[in-house]
Symmetry: C2
Subunit: 213 residues, 2 copies
């Protein structure tokens, strides 16, 4: 028994078998466990001690994403590779947030799966091209929504607003900036105008949610 130890969780018996077949011919990989469901996953992991887990998503009982959470709760160092037909945002980001290390679509060529296993094993995050793009765009969108509107706050106003968001009262802001209470008020009035709000809470919520500052 040599190479990277792999445990497979997939309810498609034929698929598990064909991966096992492919592995038999290599020295780089070993199948240490093959399971059709995740209902006893913690014990399965303890018994098989894999380096890399190949995880389907749609399975009877505990689904693959829940299974990832369960594994991550106890095992920091196991690499988990999603291997599924799903490419929708919900599944992809659900799996990633649960702690998956890679995401390969079943439509990819078998060789890609093995490349991905090796890559995961050395600390990479293998993904099918389309999935990788989805992940990047998710990050980009977080910014995009931020940078859309400009409220034309002066730098002093931003300074005041920043302190407000950090929980300071007008009086405290005045102290911090060594200006009078009324000056703070004057700034706040301008800020309210520019943000189209009428209270501190609205200003704070809008500032955080719209990523002003």
């Amino acid at each position: 028994m040599n190479g990277i130890k792999i445990a497979i969780f997939d309810d498609n018996d034929a698929l598990r078998d064909s991966i096992s077949m492919l592995v038999k011919d290599t020295k780089d990989y070993t199948i240490c466990g093959s399971y059709s469901n995740c209902n006893n996953i913690i014990n399965n992991i303890i018994a098989s001690k894999p380096d890399v887990v190949i995880m389907d998503i749609d399975m009877p009982g505990i689904d693959g994403i829940e299974a990832v959470k369960l594994i991550r709760r106890q095992f920091e160092n196991i690499q988990i590779l999603m291997f599924t037909v799903f490419d929708n945002d919900e599944k992809v980001f659900g799996a990633i947030k649960a702690g998956a290390n890679g995401y390969i679509l079943k439509s990819a060529a078998p060789q890609n799966l093995f490349n991905a296993i090796s890559e995961a094993n050395i600390g990479g995050a293998p993904m099918t091209p389309g999935i990788a793009r989805k992940v990047l765009q998710h990050l980009q969108n977080q910014e995009a929504e931020a940078a859309k509107e400009d409220y034309h706050l002066s730098s002093r106003e931003k300074e005041v607003l920043s302190l407000l968001v950090n929980g300071l009262s007008y009086k405290m802001i005045a102290g911090k900036l060594k200006i009078s209470y009324d000056t703070v008020r004057a700034h706040m009035k301008k800020i309210y105008e520019k943000l189209h709000v009428t209270s501190m809470t609205e200003a704070v919520a809008k500032t955080i949610n719209k990523r002003i500052l």
Copy 2:
């Protein structure tokens, strides 16, 4: 002139030349532009009309990340591949947020660069394994911080807090929930205790930032 049209921006002349050399032997790629800086990037892009841009980060004048922003502002469909020695978070996420489609470290083998170009060209997001892992972990951390603390708010308190975060005053909340002003105050006092805050602004900021609710 056939294949994927590539423009290179890198202040290392030798490196640009060696990539050009490698490309000469292939039919899949063509160098349509080679530039040592980004100071005239928009015109360079218009002149060379690339499918894929290979972009260094550290260059005299406009740096690679700024250049990505400039390109993205006008050209939606050009694939931009970062090709750099930097693997720190600031550069990586800066480039991604600016709109890069892939991120390859110069320490990778030359063949990887060409695979990445092809992958980017078909809509993928090629990344060096370590970079990909960084990106996934960034997404995972966003969740981790969210689900850590439970402030034990009752459902009624969550209801009140939710309205507060949406900018309503105590009086408005009372109206909305058809309870008295003093009841709202009682709830708020409890909420302040549980969140360890002493003002509306702190409560709102903490609720949004810590993803309470």
